[in-house]
Symmetry: C2
Subunit: 214 residues, 2 copies
């Protein structure tokens, strides 16, 4: 069984404040007499399902091309976890204890609430994020990749971006904007492939989860 957990990059999708939705326009169009339709995309890099690169928050941090494929591809745990309002270290400790996976996607009230946030037409600032203590907990345990089911790992309105700094500073790959509504918690094979944009602070990613053979 294969799940595509990518949010389609449609104009008008919920976007973080300051980001505009994606814009597609036709440079050439058959209806205008051209031989082919040839489109052009204008995209804020933190829209929809995307990765963050270290340079998003770290001086001298690498761009998207530095995210290692062996972190982006491999076994992955999708975990249903309490977020009140955000995911805490205590909640992770209660659910995972000493068995921390290399790759972890957090399925929160963003996905399981009524309605789930991706069902809304506009951005909801009340989303569940990863609390600063939880980010440090994950970084200390050398998780390689962490994903969240809405537009940021950072608690909205945080005075300092301590979640991003803890994760990116520890070399953890951050995946934001996943659509985990339809995915039962459990173990999967993750394939998270961002567009190859050297130097960029983020990139749209296509993300698949496949149930594992055993």
């Amino acid at each position: 069984m294969r799940y595509d957990v990518t949010v389609p990059l449609r104009p008008g999708i919920p976007a973080y404040p300051g980001e505009a939705g994606p814009v597609l326009e036709l440079l050439k169009a058959r209806r205008r007499g051209d031989a082919a339709d040839v489109g052009r995309l204008l995209l804020s890099l933190h829209t929809g399902t995307h990765v963050d690169a270290p340079t998003h928050f770290l001086d001298g941090g690498g761009g998207v091309e530095t995210l290692p494929l062996d972190a982006l591809v491999g076994p992955c745990l999708v975990l249903d976890v309490e977020a009140a309002p955000d995911v805490s270290a205590a909640a992770l400790e209660a659910r995972l204890g000493g068995a921390v996976p290399d790759r972890l996607l957090l399925r929160t009230r963003n996905s399981t609430g009524a309605p789930p946030l991706w069902a809304k037409e506009s951005f909801d600032p009340g989303f569940a994020a990863i609390g600063h203590d939880a980010a440090r907990w994950l970084a200390d345990r050398r998780v390689r990749l962490v994903g969240i089911d809405y537009l940021s790992v950072e608690p909205f309105g945080a005075a300092e971006p301590l979640t991003h700094l803890a994760l990116l500073g520890a070399g953890v790959v951050v995946v934001e904007g996943l659509d985990l509504r339809a995915v039962p918690p459990g173990l999967y094979q993750l394939t998270c492939l961002p567009a190859l944009l050297p130097g960029a602070d983020g990139a749209p990613a296509r993300v698949l989860l496949e149930t594992r053979a055993s």
Copy 2:
């Protein structure tokens, strides 16, 4: 062994005439006092490594979201094949005979010439493409995905886009702009994940080849 056969989307990479190279600009920048770097991308959809969607050439054809994941992911043959000047049906018949794979990446003089075309700084119109007879040969044999190692499957300057029409018209997924220079011919597991751009005539894709266990 894993090969990333994606061309990095750098400004100034060779692009098809009429396409501009990708442009990355910072909407927010730490060096300007913002909390984070937040970039925006302007990208022609047929730049670098990308897929074509049926609507690129077919009236009423589907966008990138209609390309099936079970064509984009799976076993794949990388074939060294003569192109004089383009890949012909006879060349494919000579190399493959009746054993036609579901997914086929053509490694031509674009990759093996001196210099290979991706080593050049600007677009080279003398690239090897898929001849019209070869496209019909592939479509007739119900290949699911075909990839080429430069910017178009279509012979440059073709009076009619018969290669695209044959492949897209038969539901074959077309992948262009692969960098196959470092990949020995043989069998691989292909993972070709395009950005999820509903309605778009093409999309940048990140493409991996992995050697298979047996």
